[in-house]
C-alpha cells in the first residue's frame, strides 16, 4: 500500500468520526480535559476485596489462586528449591525444568537439589516444566502478573505442561490498579514491556459442551510458591 493511500485512509476514518460527532479535532478546554484524564487516570469504583491489609491480602491471593485451579505452597526463601523438587516428585513429573534467566531465581540455593536439572533460557515446544518469577500477584482474583524481558521470556509462561511460579509475598498487591502503578514506576509512564501477561490459573477451555478442561494450549498445571519474609 502506498504511504499516500494509507494517509488518506487515516484521514477518512478520523474525518468520518468528527463529522458524526459534529466537531473538528478536540481543542481548548475539551482537549485539556482528555489530556488531564490521560495524565492522571481516574480509578473506577473501589472494590472492597482489593483493599485488604497485609496478612489477609496474601491469604486472599492464595484462596483465589486455588479457586482458579492453581496450587499454592507458602515457604521461606531457603526452602524454595526443595519445595519445587518435592512438587515435581509428588506429581510424578521429571526432575528437569527450563528456568527464567533471572538473578533473583539464580540466587536461590539450587546446589542443594542435585537431582534437579535446570536449563536457562526461553521456553521450547517440548518443555515439560518451567520455573519463573512474577512481577506481581493480584489478591483480588489470585492472578499472577508477568512482565516480559531478558529475565522473563514469555514462552516460559505458555509452552510447558507445568508452570512453577516463585512469587514474593511483598509483590502481592490488592487490585489491578496497584499493578499499573508498579509498571509505571518500573518502566516509565509511557513505556511498557513488550508483553504483560496476567495469568489466573492453568490454561483452560470450555469449548466442548461448556465443560471446563484444563491445559488447552498453555500449562495444564500451575504451582505457585509464595515466598514469605
Amino acid at each position: 500500500m502506498s504511504e499516500a493511500g494509507s494517509q488518506a485512509d487515516r484521514a477518512a476514518i478520523l474525518g468520518s468520526i468528527r463529522r458524526a460527532l459534529r466537531r473538528g479535532p478536540l481543542s481548548g478546554a475539551a482537549r485539556q480535559a482528555v489530556d488531564a484524564r490521560l495524565a492522571d487516570p481516574p480509578r473506577g469504583p473501589a472494590v472492597g476485596r482489593a483493599a485488604l491489609a497485609e496478612p489477609e491480602k496474601v491469604a486472599l491471593f492464595c484462596q483465589w489462586a486455588e479457586f482458579n485451579n492453581a496450587t499454592v505452597a507458602r515457604v521461606a526463601a531457603a526452602d524454595v528449591p526443595g519445595e519445587i523438587v518435592g512438587y515435581l516428585a509428588r506429581n510424578n513429573l521429571p526432575a528437569a525444568a527450563a528456568m527464567a534467566p533471572s538473578p533473583a531465581l539464580e540466587a536461590l540455593d539450587w546446589a542443594s537439589q542435585r537431582m534437579l536439572t535446570l536449563r536457562h533460557g526461553r521456553g521450547e515446544g517440548a518443555d515439560q516444566v518451567s520455573i519463573t518469577g512474577a512481577f506481581a500477584g493480584i489478591a483480588e482474583t489470585g492472578t499472577l502478573v508477568m512482565a516480559s524481558g531478558p529475565e522473563h521470556p514469555v514462552t516460559l509462561n505458555l509452552l510447558p505442561d507445568t508452570h512453577i511460579v516463585v512469587l514474593r509475598e511483598g509483590d502481592i498487591v490488592g487490585g489491578y490498579e496497584e499493578v499499573w502503578q508498579r509498571l509505571r514506576a518500573r518502566y516509565g509512564k509511557d513505556a511498557m514491556p513488550r508483553t504483560v501477561n496476567t495469568i489466573t490459573g492453568p490454561s483452560r477451555t470450555g469449548d466442548i459442551e461448556q465443560t471446563i478442561e484444563l491445559g488447552a494450549h498453555g500449562p495444564r498445571r500451575m504451582h505457585i510458591v509464595v515466598v514469605g519474609g
Partner: protein, 472 residues
C-alpha cells in the same frame, strides 16, 4: 462471511428440527447464565462497576478520534505500526500485503469476530496463505467449514460426539486413528496437533478486546493461551481491531475487565489477560520482530452521534445471547451472519443494511433479559424497536402483517367500533371452546396452534367490559 440473514425463518425451522443443536442449547441455558449470576453475587460492587463501564465507553466514543490518534502515537513510538482500514476490503488488503511482505505461508489465528466480519480466512486462502484457527472452538468449526454460532463459544452448537467424529476424520492422517470419547482426550489431541502449527507459523493474527490509548497496548482476554502463543511465537504479530475498541487508560481497563469475564463465562478472571505493546525489545529472548495494528471502521463511525450509538459500547461478552430465550431456542447460525443473539439483531442491520437483516430485530420477545445483564447497559430492546420502525417505514414488513396492523389501527382509532368488535370476537371465541379452556386450532392463528394450544379467554367479557364493571 456470506450472510443468510434473509432466510432467517427457514434457518429457524432447520434449527428447531436439529436434535444435536437442541441438545447443545439445553446445556447453554443453565451453564453460562447460572455462572454469571454466581459471579455477580460474589462481587458486591458489580452493579456500580457496570455503571462505570458504561460511562467509560461513552467517554471513549465521544472522544474517539483523540484516543485513536493517541493510541497510534504510542504504538509508533515503540516501533509498532498502525494501519487504518475504512472498509472490510481495505483491512483484507492490508493484512494480505503484510503477510506477503515476509513471504508468509501460514497464519496462526486467535479467535477474532472482526476477522469473521471481514471474511479474512477466505481471502487469505485464495492467495495461497493458510489461516490456522487455534482457539479450540474455532479450530473445530474450521475443520467442519462452519461459521461460529456464538461470539465467545464458537462451537457451542456441537456435541462431544460430533467433535469426536470431526477429529477422527481430520486427524487420522496425522496418526491419531482412535475415535476419542472423553473431552479431556479431545482437548489433548487438538493441543498436540496445533502445537507444531504454532511453532511453524510465520504470522500470528489476533483480535483485541481493548486498545489502551495511554500505553499503545492491545489487550486480549482469553482462556486457552492460544492468543498468547500467536503473539509470541511467529515473526510478525498483526492485531485486527475495530475503532470502538479503544479506551483511555489502564485504570479504565481494570473496570472493564471486572465486568467482562464475569458477564461472559462467570469467571472471576479469564485465565489470560495480555497487554501487547510493540515488537520484541533489545535483549528479549522471544517475541515478534514486527507488530502491526489494523484499525477497522467498516461503517461504525457513521453510528456515532445517532440514536444507535449505544451499540458501539458492546465489549462482546455474549451475555445477551446466553440469556436470550430466542437464541436459546435456535442457536447462533439461524441469525445468518457473524454476530448472533440480541447484539446481532442490532449490529447486523447496521453493518449489512436493514433490507438484509430485517428479520433479526423481530426475533425477540422483548423480555428485556439482554439489557438487564449487559455489562455496559446497552438498551438492546430499544435498539431492536428502532430497527423494527425502520423496517416498517421502508415497507419491508410482510404484507399480511402490514394489512393486519392497518386494520387494527383503523379499529383502534374508533373506540366504539373497537369495543363492539372485540366483544363479538370474545363471544365467538367462547362458542368455539371456552368449556375446554383452550383451542387446538383457530382460524388465522395456525402459526400459533401448530405448536401449542391457545388459551381461551375467561368468562366475563372483554377487558374493557370487565374494567367498566369493576372500576371503583
Amino acid at each position: 462471511m456470506q450472510s443468510t440473514a434473509r432466510s432467517f425463518k427457514d434457518n429457524v425451522d432447520t434449527a428447531l428440527a436439529d436434535p444435536n443443536l437442541q441438545d447443545s442449547l439445553s446445556k447453554l441455558k443453565v451453564g453460562f447464565s447460572e455462572r454469571r449470576r454466581q459471579a455477580a453475587e460474589r462481587l458486591p460492587e458489580f452493579e456500580a462497576l457496570r455503571d462505570r463501564a458504561r460511562d467509560i465507553k461513552n467517554h471513549a466514543l465521544a472522544n474517539l478520534d483523540f484516543y485513536l490518534e493517541e493510541f497510534e502515537r504510542k504504538v509508533t513510538a515503540l516501533g509498532g505500526h498502525v494501519h487504518w482500514a475504512p472498509t472490510a476490503d481495505d483491512a483484507r488488503r492490508i493484512i494480505a500485503d503484510l503477510c506477503r511482505s515476509i513471504g508468509a505461508r501460514t497464519v496462526a489465528k486467535s479467535k477474532s469476530m472482526v476477522a469473521e466480519e471481514i471474511g479474512l480466512n477466505e481471502h487469505l486462502e485464495a492467495l495461497g496463505i493458510a489461516p490456522i484457527e487455534t482457539d479450540l472452538g474455532e479450530y473445530i468449526i474450521q475443520l467442519r467449514h462452519e461459521p461460529p454460532s456464538h461470539i465467545i463459544a464458537p462451537a457451542v452448537h456441537l456435541t462431544k460426539d460430533q467433535v469426536a467424529d470431526t477429529f477422527l476424520e481430520h486427524h487420522s492422517k496425522l496418526g491419531f486413528t482412535r475415535r476419542l470419547t472423553e473431552r479431556n482426550d479431545l482437548v489433548a489431541e487438538a493441543r498436540a496437533v496445533l502445537r507444531q502449527k504454532f511453532l511453524d507459523a510465520d504470522v500470528g493474527l489476533t483480535g483485541a478486546n481493548f486498545l489502551v490509548a495511554e500505553t499503545g497496548s492491545s489487550m486480549l482476554v482469553t482462556n486457552e493461551g492460544n492468543a498468547d502463543l500467536s503473539n509470541t511465537l511467529p515473526r510478525m504479530h498483526i492485531v485486527l481491531a475495530s475503532i470502538e475498541k479503544v479506551i483511555p487508560t489502564l485504570e479504565d481497563a481494570a473496570v472493564l475487565l471486572r465486568v467482562l469475564a464475569r458477564s461472559a463465562t462467570g469467571q472471576e478472571s479469564s485465565a489470560y489477560t495480555t497487554l501487547n505493546t510493540g515488537p520484541k525489545r533489545p535483549g528479549d529472548l522471544d517475541g515478534p520482530e514486527q507488530y502491526h495494528v489494523v484499525i477497522l471502521d467498516n461503517g461504525r463511525s457513521s453510528v456515532l452521534g445517532t440514536e444507535m450509538q449505544d451499540m458501539l459500547r458492546c465489549i462482546r461478552c455474549g451475555a445477551c445471547m446466553n440469556h436470550c430465550p430466542v437464541y436459546g431456542a435456535i442457536g447462533g447460525h439461524a441469525y445468518g451472519w457473524v454476530y448472533p443473539g440480541p447484539i446481532g439483531a442490532v449490529l447486523t442491520p447496521q453493518l449489512l443494511g436493514v433490507e438484509e437483516a430485517a428479520n433479526l430485530p423481530n426475533a425477540s420477545t422483548f423480555c428485556g433479559r439482554c439489557e438487564s445483564v449487559c455489562p455496559v447497559r446497552i438498551p438492546l430492546p430499544g435498539l431492536m424497536r428502532h430497527w423494527r420502525e425502520r423496517e416498517f417505514e421502508r415497507h419491508l414488513t410482510p404484507k399480511a402483517i402490514r394489512q393486519g396492523l392497518a386494520l387494527w389501527g383503523f379499529m383502534a382509532r374508533r373506540p366504539r367500533l373497537y369495543r363492539r368488535m372485540t366483544a363479538l370476537a370474545n363471544r365467538l371465541l367462547a362458542l368455539l371452546g371456552r368449556a375446554e379452556g383452550r383451542y387446538r386450532t383457530l382460524p388465522l392463528a395456525g402459526g400459533w396452534t401448530r405448536f401449542r394450544d391457545f388459551p381461551a379467554p375467561p368468562a366475563g367479557g372483554t377487558f374493557h367490559a370487565q374494567w367498566r364493571r369493576r372500576k371503583p
